[in-house]
């Protein structure tokens, strides 16, 4: 079920009415769990069993981890969790990818392994990372294990963020389930505000931009360099508004229900370095990778060279998490490479501080360089394959000839996006943030709702991140 479907409006109103009526916390959690399973089963009930397996395995392992102090046994339980969760993820998401990638090696050896007709379960990457983080945290004794199966099941399947994040940490969410949270007017207003902003970003901005981007990218050879630049700028906005829009809607619904989810995006396109970008983009994933991959590999504690290797591996895996294709892996590597270069530059600046004394690079140059790296990365992220990516880059940077298409709506959104980001970066006003107590906020929110309804695009527009 999509947040932008009319059916979802009926669904959420029903859930909220029941939550309003129910005063018993256990019953409320039971309702949320049933609603979450229905929300997921609306797409395909058969894949609920994967969520159930993940829930039961990690819940049981969490309990077992507290019962033993034996390091070998604890390791065994941790590895069991990793094998089950990553095994499911690998099979459903990466099996065909690796088989087809290694076909080149296998065929000369007369090993004919064919790919399987596998459906990618929606949200598998998100809830797998969520359950994994719980088990690793319990193993590392950072959190106490959850003793209520109901609480744990709600944590895994909480419908607002089940299929596309934000990736929630057990330490943040499980304590919130322990006590009764009434529906309040404050939460309702604040949650609705966040939800409407997210819906506007997704439906009015992202989905309408897609109508320009999709034909341009799929016919890249026919369009000129300027159109491809515009398409890639538009894609940068589309993917941001699509994903952050979903996150906002998830956070908004949770807030209405009385639960808090951490923000997932913080104006990533004002970043002045690639490191800064990753502190603002898909925060729940980047912090997950930092805490459960980069730091356990040694982080930056084992010397400069090892830091670079760790960064590279973490980002390559980050790319692979996004999709089972080499273009995603390359996108991760590209960002990893940029992070390494940035760190190397920082080190040089520190080592030769005297040389760089008084030299300040203009903020706009830092921003421009960062955005060029990000935008180039998006080309690989969006392209179907490397040849298409190279064609797009070639036409962009060599200003290739072809059909020109400067869509006025896309130009308008581009200007609007730049304006909002400049206002935010220079801290000129808070108007664009629509503060909950500001007198103008309800009027603007109503206007946004009208715009969404009036310009609702025809046809089905899934969220981009559903495929991950």
């Amino acid at each position: 079920m999509l947040f932008t479907q009319i059916e979802f409006a009926f669904f959420i109103i029903t859930v909220l009415l029941y939550l309003f009526w129910m005063k018993n916390n256990t019953a409320r959690k039971g309702l949320i769990l049933v609603a979450s399973y229905y929300f997921y089963a609306y797409w395909d009930y058969r894949f609920l069993c994967l969520i159930l397996v993940s829930t039961i395995v990690d819940y049981s392992i969490g309990l077992q981890l507290t019962k033993t102090l034996n390091l070998t046994r604890r390791r065994f339980f941790l590895i069991s969790s990793l094998v089950v969760n990553l095994g499911i993820l690998f099979f459903f998401k990466y099996f065909n990818f690796f088989i087809s990638s290694f076909q080149v090696i296998l065929t000369p050896l007369n090993l004919n392994v064919s790919t399987l007709n596998i459906i990618l379960p929606v949200g598998i990457s998100f809830y797998t990372f969520q359950t994994l983080s719980y088990t690793i945290d319990v193993y590392n004794k950072k959190i106490e294990p959850c003793t209520s199966l109901l609480d744990f099941a709600v944590f895994v399947a909480f419908f607002p963020q089940l299929v596309a994040g934000p990736i929630v940490r057990a330490s943040h969410f499980l304590p919130q389930l322990r006590q009764y949270v009434p529906l309040t007017k404050t939460n309702f207003l604040e949650g609705s505000r966040i939800f409407v902003i997210g819906m506007f970003k997704k439906v009015f901005v992202a989905d309408r931009l897609a109508m320009f981007i999709d034909p341009v990218i799929s016919n890249a050879a026919a369009f000129d360099g300027a159109t491809l630049w515009l398409a890639m700028f538009a894609y940068s906005i589309q993917i941001y508004c699509d994903f952050s829009g979903y996150s906002d809607m998830a956070i908004g619904i949770s807030r209405i229900m009385g639960y808090d989810l951490n923000i997932n995006f913080n104006f990533p396109y004002i970043a002045k370095s690639i490191g800064d970008f990753w502190r603002r983009w898909h925060i729940s994933l980047s912090t997950w990778i930092r805490d459960y991959l980069y730091i356990p590999m040694g982080g930056n504690r084992k010397g400069q060279r090892r830091t670079y290797i760790n960064t590279f591996v973490a980002m390559a895996l980050c790319g692979l998490w996004h999709g089972a294709a080499w273009t995603f892996v390359f996108w991760g590597i590209w960002h990893g490479f940029a992070l390494i270069v940035h760190r190397y530059w920082q080190n040089i600046k520190m080592e030769k501080a005297v040389l760089f004394q008084g030299i300040q690079f203009p903020r706009i140059a830092n921003w421009g360089l960062t955005m060029t790296v990000v935008l180039t990365g998006w080309v690989f992220f969006r392209a179907q394959d490397f040849s298409q990516a190279m064609l797009i880059l070639q036409k962009m940077f060599l200003l290739g000839e072809g059909v020109s298409w400067m869509h006025p709506f896309v130009l308008f959104i581009l200007i609007l996006t730049v304006l909002v980001h400049v206002i935010h970066d220079l801290n000129i006003t808070k108007l664009h943030m629509l503060p909950v107590n500001a007198w103008y906020t309800p009027a603007i929110l109503f206007c946004l709702i009208w715009l969404v309804v009036l310009f609702y695009p025809k046809g089905f527009q899934p969220f981009i991140y559903f495929q991950f």
Partner: protein, 345 residues
Amino acid sequence: MKKIACSFLFSIGFTWLVSAIFIDTIEPYEWHPGLKKYVRVAGTVNRERNEGWGSSVSGALGIHGIPDITKIQSRKIAIWGDSFVEAIQVDDDKKIAQVFTKISAENGLDLVAFGVGALGGAVVDYYFDLPKYERLNPTIAAHFILINHRRDVLPGKKRRGSLFVADPEFKFILKQREPQGPLFLRKLIYDLDLNFLFALAKSMPDLKDFRFAIGPVPQRIKAQGHSQKAYDEKAALRFLFEKLAAQTSLPIVFVYVPRVPELRDGRFDFTDPLAPFMKDFSKMAKTHGMGFISLEQWFIGFHQRTGRFHSGFINSKPGEGHLNEDGNRLVAEAIFNYISEENLH
């Protein structure tokens, strides 16, 4: 509560303003006793924003861009067609008929063209309308009929207008094209420019499309084959030409507007899948004393010279959709050339 109510009222005002600029208008219709059909109300302005950016003023008989065609004494060219002739995506002065009139004047000919276009129109509709328009416009010199699809000339079902059926025999059935929704409501929405309410109603999904059952959604398998009984295409076309020839003594010329060149899979596709059919169609038209113009080479030549397309707008995919300003002009030029060559003036 007061703040919320005021905010909502403000948003209505804002939406009204936005829709007055960016939302397509709903056209009011009225019954025309002379034509015995619903026509656009004279003096109303149709605003198209979804594709292209055009304003079309309706005149008498619902004809765009001409206040009252019946009062013009010059010799006239009637251009018939579907939404390609309606051409609401461009302003009136850029439509085929108006451009043709302008070219004629520049070449010293006193010819006035007018377009009779309606979304989804087909030759069977024009068959019934030809005598009525001729009666109201006695100076019509020739009829030009724009076609761009097989369904424009062959039997088929599920049409809002008149029907061309093949079963049990070839037959034209007059069917009145009814405007959607009550006429007074369309007029009221138009007069108050409340087009956003209409857009809102259109965006609401049908109740039967709602799904609350759990997935997966079973794949709908399309019915195989044609529901209609197979018929001889050439016999159908023969029937069409004979009926048309019997309906009017004036020259009839078919103008084929192909969808080439088209942008497909990153390439410009210059092959027209309808070309073989249109080749046969043109031969049969000529044997029945009717003219045929194909815009195929005009469109391809134009694209090769300028790199531009005859269809598509700044707010829609290049090479797709309705005729743009260039496309309207190319069709007008082709008609003018034909008239000059065939001495139809």
